[in-house]
Amino acid sequence: MKKIIALLLIAMFSIAVLGCSRQAAKSPAPEQTAKKNLAGTTLKAYAAYGPLDKIFAEFQKETGIKVEFLDMSSGEVLSKLRAEKGKPTGDIWFGGGVDSFIAAQSDGLLEPYISPEAAKVPAQYKEKDGYWTGVSLAIVTFLVNKDRCKELGIPVPESWADLLNPKLKGEVVMSDPAVSGTAYFTLYGLIKDTAQGWPYMGKLNVNIPAYAKRGGEPPQKAAIGEATVGISPDTSEELKAQGYPAVTVFPKDGTPWWPSPVAILKGSQNPDGAKAFVDWCLSEKGQNILKQYTPRVPAREGIAYPAVVEGIKSAKMMNIDFIQAGNERDAILAQFQKIRGK
């Protein structure tokens, strides 16, 4: 009787030790030409974008391709891809900090693809060889807790200069630029801005009690009142809709931004499905669906801005060279460590 269990155990270990090899013998894909027959296939995505389940459901409705996804910040995806050494467990990478995409490209982890739809995307929002293509513009905003402002007796801060108010000491939350793309482009934009530069960052540092180690933390802290200002990606519609006393502010004296890209991973198991997704994201229809779920400035020309980001038109977009930002990353992060006194 009990012997059976013993045998089972042995069998189990043997499987664990010997087996587990993924079936390497993948039958050669029957005729590449069998195009558009992608319905029913599955696409695996790493993503950092709006409500992913809804976005991917729309994509499936359109193409019949089912998307399985993991919501990971771009730094995490980059680490995972590097450890996977060009044999990724996913097909596409959707949204996040473009700095990580640039780094992945130089590590040879991305597959170039120039989508026919990309013609409508301005050159500054995409990589010229198609390693990544911007889908929308992610914008750095302040999420400000109105109640906290009242308690502190200050008006809602509207500019980077306003954040230096001594009354905001300990009240401004920003993520660690090493972890979060939002924070990195904020840092990069501010130090490259002639009016601000490193000295500004040094002064802002005084008001920041600690750098959050997770990208999504600042808006949340501001919403629940742990802080007054959260330096956030996007406009945190979900939090505002729930009734938190928060408003979104586009900093008047310069808004950092970056194109939020989509890219195909080198070694993708479903390259045609991945291409179909890139095409869909950049198409007119896809762009309109995306902005409906995540109100951002669309990357494609001729798409109307969603209402909530209309305010960006009166703000000043910072001038940011992404390739440069990607290349200088290590040096800038090292300099930043000195500023924050670590």
């Binding site: 009990k2 269990i5 013993a6 155990l9 042995i10 189990m12 270990f13 030790v17 587990c20 090899s21 993924r22 390497a24 695996k44 995505a45 790493y46 709006g50 389940d53 998307v67 399985e68 993991l70 919501d71 730094g75 995490e76 680490s79 995972k80 590097r82 450890a83 996977e84 050494k85 044999k87 467990t89 996913g90 300990g170 660690d176 090493a178 972890v179 009690p209 600690a210 750098y211 180690k213 997770r214 990208g215 999504g216 949340q220 919403a223 629940i224 009142g225 742990e226 802080a227 945190s236 979900e238 939090l239 729930q242 009734g243 938190y244 006393p245 290590d330 992060l333 924050r340 670590k342």
Partner: protein, 581 residues
Amino acid sequence: MRETPFWHNSKRSVANKTAGVSFKDTPFQELSEKLIYILLGSSLLLFILWPILLVLKESLHGNSGLSLGCYYQLFSQNRRLISDSFLLAVASSALSVTLGLVMALYLTYSHWKGKLFIYAVLLLSMISPPFIAALSYVMLFGRRGFITYKLLHLSINPYGWHGVLIMQVLGFASIAALLIMGVLSSRDQSLEQASMDLGATPLQTLLRVILPVAKPGIIVAFLLVFVQVLADFGTPIIIGGNFSVLASEAYLQVIGLYDLPKASAMSTLLLIPSLLMFLIYRRMMNRSHFSSPSVGSSSNELMRLSPFTNLFLGVLTLSFVGFELLKYLTIFWGAFARTWGVNFSFTLNHIVDTLGAGKMDSFWRSLEYSLIAAIICSFMGMLLSYYLERKKYWGHSFFDFVATLPFMIPGPFLGIAYLLAFHGPPIDMTGTALIVICNCMFRQIPVSTRAGAAVLTQISPDIELSAKDLGARDLRVFFDIILPQLKPAFLVSFINTFTATMTTVGAIIFLISPGSKLATVELFEFVKIGKIGEAAVFANLIILATLIINLMFSFIIMKRKLRNQYLGGEGVYVSGIARAN
């Protein structure tokens, strides 16, 4: 026959007896037994040692071949980080063990009927879903916290080393308490009575008799908590503010900068003191024996502590219980509150949204993985402890060491190690469910093995020897004699692995693939987009499911009574130890 009591010289004599082949053993049976040992050993090598070695190799990776550059850099530039890590670990473990001792004493000596309730809260506090538990702490005790700000009008900044210290002390106190209680429950009560009869006050008895008796438990609790605190990266990340320790910094080096060599060096540095602690701990376990089997003194009346001492212990214990209950109440209410933290009016929307949105897949998957991991890990742990504690084949102390390693390294690190080891030939299993389950399982092997070993040291080998004398073969002895006696250890192992797998997040983030999300990952996604109500629903689901499965399993295994002393001694690290990951 053997006259010496088993708890003295037993090990050597058992080893001698079993090492020689019993004449009833046929070569085949002997072989099958050795085969299992070899399989167990090689799976330890493959799934624990190899991945960890790959990581160590990474830490010696220089620009040109091997180099100690990373370590040199660490010691020259991060001295502060290193000293902070160790100071915090010492402080956190000292304080949490003190609090644990207080609670253990109260639970042992109080005559209050509500003791059982406190005990239940201690067990409950082991189930701590990530993110949302931290969030509820912040909402209660943060700068605008409900308690600190709204009720007490304090504006305390919880972020910093003090916040980490408090969270860790609260987080590890219950484990320490359960460990010390285990030792106290098997004490010889006649000692106290003798002390009292000789005219000592209860306080004198407490300080001069009871504390020395509890000493091994206190030291073991300290060592175990120390190792765990050192490897805890989650708390410093959530609440550390600008304060960081080696474990959290190693995590950020991987996540933010992908500096694998530096992260590896940091983790290796963590490993050294942990190894030292482990060696001390092994010596302690070998020398002092928890179980001087109580000599029928159970009918004696429990010593009464002085009202003042009792009050002191009681107030501390109850405030801990209060803290924990408040935390769980907040999480519970969060699932029904319209806007967490702002508008606490009742709503069912979050529940409807969560259950209706096809989000339950990940929950069922989590349950499935946790069950598989818990069952296999417990069987393996029991088998291993039998081989290591009783059979002592060649290499047993080495395998014992390997089986303890996962306990000492920060969770995400083992995740990366698995990714390095099992991505591509000879073993390619990234992206499969198997790699996630293996990771969760082998991460908990130390607890399962230790739990088994702890119980085995308390069981007299006489029965096994009799069974053998009557002709039972070794495997038969294991299944018929050992396994039934290991039930409490099996239970501890199951509860620990199941709970840890249900609430894990750090290690698996690198191993899960799209389409095989787990409940904690889903929870994190809700937190990330700000749907805190939905996150709370998920957190409650995790708590509830873990609680129910653990209770059901306890009931099945132990049938009726769950006697405390069964779960006593070393066995009760119970679950939640791995909450840090």
